[in-house]
Structure formats: structure tokens, C-alpha cells
């Protein structure tokens, strides 16, 4: 095996893949949330944002493929880690107790990850693979005007919130960044950024349900 294969297939190599791809996905999420705040400003602001974005169509395709690559690396490596970790403890404990480290987020990473994966499929079906010529503001208003989708998006966002509640801190530890001088700073930033992302998406979903004229 080459040094490269040996490095990325090692336990620690896989941890770095999770951390790097998780960071990229998190950065995308932040940009995505920032852009989507234009929905709250009304139809013209949102369409103008979408228009500006698609003026970069030539670069967008490249960025989309890059994002897809990081996403697949994250999902595939995450599932491999999950299976290896199950395999490493063939017989479960009769009594399970938390000694003080585990959180809801950390304990559910693989499961919230899979829910987020399914949610992203639904999300792309809703807003990415739309009929040519359809106006995005109308598509968004229609989909998220339906209570069924409000519930689905609520589930997806809850899973994502749990996932990043552990992930945004965890990626620093995986990357070897841990020092008493700034550990608290990292945790505070992780919660503030994660909270902001979830709040923005959550508010948009609720607003689109209660105010059907938001994007009219």
C-alpha cells in the first residue's frame, strides 16, 4: 500500500477525513443559511439573490461537485467508522451508564447522520431537481406552505441540530486542536454558529407555513 492509502485508511486518517469534510459541510451550511435569510425579506430580495448566485453558473457546477465529493467522503467514512465501532464490541453491556462524557448529540451521530442524509435527498428533490423554467420563489412557497413538509423539515433540522451540536466541537478535537487556553472559545463558537444556522432555517420554515404571502 502507498503511504497515502495507509494514512487515509488508518483509524486516525478516517478521523481527519470526518473532521475536514464535516468542516466543509458546516461552512457550506453557514453560507447557505446566510443566503436564505433573503427569503425573510420577501420575493424580490430572494429572487435577486438567486439571480446573482446563478450568474456564477460556470463556477457553481464545479463547487457543487466538490461539495458532493466531500459529502460522499463524509457519509461513506462515517458509515465505515460506525460499522467498525459496532464490530469492536461484539457483546453489549447489560447495564449502560453515562460516566459524564456522552451527550445526546455524540451518542446519536450515526443515526442523526442517516436522517440528515435522507433529508438532504428530499431537499434536493424539492429545490434542486425542479422543472426547467419554474420560478424558485414559487416552488419554495408551495413546498413549505404544506404542513407535511413543515414536519419533514422539522425532523431534518432537529437531526442536523443534534449532529452539529457534537460535530462542530468534535472536529477540532479530531484535528488535534485542544488546548486549555482556547477550548472554551471553541465550544462557545461551535454552539453560537450551530445555533445561528438552525435558528435561521427554523424561522424560515415556520414563516413560510404561517405567512403564505411571504414570497408572493
Amino acid at each position: 500500500m502507498s503511504w497515502f492509502t495507509r494514512t487515509v485508511t488508518a483509524s486516525l486518517g478516517k478521523k481527519y477525513i470526518m473532521a475536514l469534510s464535516g468542516l466543509v459541510l458546516g461552512a457550506f451550511l453557514l453560507v447557505h443559511a446566510a443566503g436564505n435569510t433573503t427569503i425573510l425579506l420577501g420575493r424580490s430580495a430572494f429572487l435577486s439573490y438567486a439571480g446573482h448566485l446563478h450568474a456564477f453558473d460556470f463556477a457553481l457546477v464545479g463547487i457543487e461537485f466538490l461539495l458532493l465529493a466531500f459529502f460522499l467522503a463524509h457519509v461513506v467514512t462515517g458509515l465505515v467508522l460506525f460499522m467498525q465501532n459496532m464490530w469492536a464490541r461484539p457483546e453489549r453491556y447489560a447495564v449502560n451508564n453515562n460516566a459524564g462524557g456522552r451527550t445526546w448529540g455524540s451518542a446519536t451521530m450515526p443515526y442523526t447522520g442517516i436522517i440528515v442524509f435522507l433529508f438532504i435527498l428530499v431537499h434536493l428533490y424539492n429545490f434542486h431537481f425542479i422543472a426547467p423554467g419554474a420560478v424558485i420563489a414559487d416552488v419554495v412557497a408551495e413546498v413549505l406552505g404544506s404542513p407535511l413538509y413543515t414536519v419533514l423539515y422539522g425532523i431534518g433540522l432537529t437531526a442536523l441540530a443534534l449532529h452539529i451540536s457534537h460535530g462542530f466541537w468534535s472536529l477540532f478535537q479530531s484535528a488535534g486542536i485542544n488546548h486549555p487556553k482556547y477550548n472554551r472559545f471553541i465550544i462557545v463558537c461551535a454552539w453560537v454558529i450551530g445555533g445561528l444556522i438552525i435558528a435561521v432555517f427554523g424561522i424560515i420554515v415556520v414563516m413560510l407555513l404561517v405567512n403564505s404571502n411571504l414570497l408572493a
Binding site: 483509524s11 469492536a88 460516566a99 479530531s174
Partner: protein, 256 residues
């Protein structure tokens, strides 16, 4: 503290050997002196079982003063029992209530096969140490004290890491049965000191490869290990292990 006497209901994992299936068996103990250690409590049970002509419960122990790393079991879902920073041998019965039911299980991990009852085979740790947890030096005559300067702060961190007694509770407590706290401690204690310098990169690669070969799981930063570690080894050592691995893999000429 004045001694009390307590009675206990014990649910203990019994397993004849690695190949046989294990089960829990229930025992009742009366009049346990609260000044006893947890292992002394099992001694009392074993004397009782022996007198009754039954098989005593097999468990590992040696120093019984918290320094050798031989003892350990999972008590009510917590490795080494409910007291922080305490080995099972140093855990005292005064921390338990009269009439309490305790479930006692062995450390569970594929890499730690059960030998009998509560005794598990932790030789996987020995093989990781053999892969690089040492310094190859000429041990001729004793060197002068202070011949090699070491910063006080570094010496402290190295000493903290060197406090690891290799008990394996970190693996037992980890939801993924990962050994990274142990390996992080063993790599750190040498990486922090000048004496560990010459073999630093080679050691990081060999020990991580050895750890992966043994079939331990992968750390997902759950922090259960540092919560049960009898020596309070910090996960800062896992972060250092991660850095050492990248340094050796990407920036050194070592190849393994």
C-alpha cells in the same frame, strides 16, 4: 468514618472461558463492612462460594493500591465503579447503600477477549507497547542529573500522561471500544520529552498501526474514557496523538 454493615444483591457475569457462553448469576451478601474495598467484598463472596463447594468468581488484581492496573470491572455500567479517578481496588463499600443491587460485568471489547468471569486478556495493550512505546538508548553508566534540559511545563504534561497504568477502563467505557486514550497517553509521555525525540515519528506510526491491527474501535470524541480513567488522563493526549500521527504521516520520511 465509622464503619457500617451493609447487605448487597450481586449480579455477576460468569463465563467459564472464551468459547463458552456467559450468564449473570445472583448472589446475596450480608454484613459487608463498609470499610472494605470492592475487591475485599468479592473476596468475602469467594470464601463463601468456596465453603459451599461452588466455583469462586475469577477477577484480576495485584497491588490493590491503585498503581498496577490489573484490576477492573464494570459496576452498574461504569468502568471501575461510581467513584471518579478511582481503581476498583481503591473503591470502598462505604459508597454503596444497604440493600443495593450491583451488576458486575467484565470489560467488554473484541480486543479484550474474556478469559474467565471478570478476567479479560489485555495483551493487545502489550503488543501496542512492543510496537514502539519505548526508547532505544544505551543504558551505560548513569548520566548526570540535568544533563538533558527539560522544561518544567513539558515535564508536568509528560508525567500526567505517564500516570496511565494500562488498566483498559478507557476501552471498556468507550462506546466504540477505542483504545485512543491509552495510546494517546503512551505516545504523549515520550513525544513530550527530548529522550523520545529520535524515534518520535516512527513510534507514532508503529503504535497506531498496532492499535488498528488489534481491532479496537475508533474514537468519536464521546469523552467517556477520561470520565472513568482512574488516573484522570485527559483527552488532550488524544489530540496530541492525532497531531503526532499527521506529523509522522505527512511530514516525515518514516514509512510504515
Amino acid at each position: 468514618m465509622a464503619a457500617r454493615e451493609i447487605s448487597l444483591n450481586l449480579k455477576i457475569w460468569r463465563q467459564e472461558n472464551q468459547g463458552k457462553k456467559g450468564t449473570f448469576e445472583n448472589y446475596r451478601l450480608e454484613k459487608i463492612n463498609s470499610n472494605m474495598s470492592f475487591l475485599e467484598m468479592i473476596d468475602v463472596l469467594n470464601e463463601k462460594l468456596t465453603r459451599e463447594g461452588r466455583e469462586p468468581v475469577a477477577f484480576d488484581h495485584d497491588c490493590r493500591e491503585g498503581i498496577c492496573g490489573m484490576c477492573g470491572a464494570v459496576v452498574d455500567g461504569i468502568a471501575h465503579g461510581p467513584e471518579k479517578a478511582t481503581t476498583l481496588c481503591q473503591l470502598h463499600m462505604r459508597h454503596f447503600r444497604d440493600g443495593q443491587t450491583l451488576t458486575i460485568e467484565p470489560f467488554r471489547a473484541r480486543a479484550f477477549p474474556i478469559i474467565r468471569d471478570l478476567v479479560v486478556d489485555r495483551s493487545a495493550f502489550d503488543r501496542i507497547i512492543q510496537a514502539g512505546g519505548f526508547i532505544s538508548v544505551n543504558t551505560g553508566s548513569a548520566p548526570d542529573a540535568n544533563a538533558i534540559p527539560v522544561a518544567q511545563t513539558k515535564a508536568e504534561l509528560a508525567m500526567d500522561a505517564a500516570a496511565c497504568i494500562g488498566c483498559g477502563a478507557c476501552v471498556a467505557a468507550c462506546p466504540n471500544a477505542s483504545a485512543m486514550l491509552f495510546v494517546g497517553a503512551k505516545i504523549s509521555q515520550l513525544a513530550l520529552l527530548p529522550q523520545g525525540g529520535p524515534e518520535r515519528e516512527k513510534r507514532a506510526l508503529s503504535m497506531v498501526r498496532a492499535m488498528d491491527r488489534e481491532g479496537f474501535g475508533n474514537c468519536s470524541n464521546e469523552r467517556e474514557c477520561e470520565a472513568v480513567c482512574p488516573k484522570s488522563i485527559s483527552i488532550r493526549n488524544i489530540a496530541r496523538l492525532n497531531r503526532e500521527f499527521v506529523r509522522a504521516s505527512l511530514f516525515s520520511d518514516e514509512n510504515e
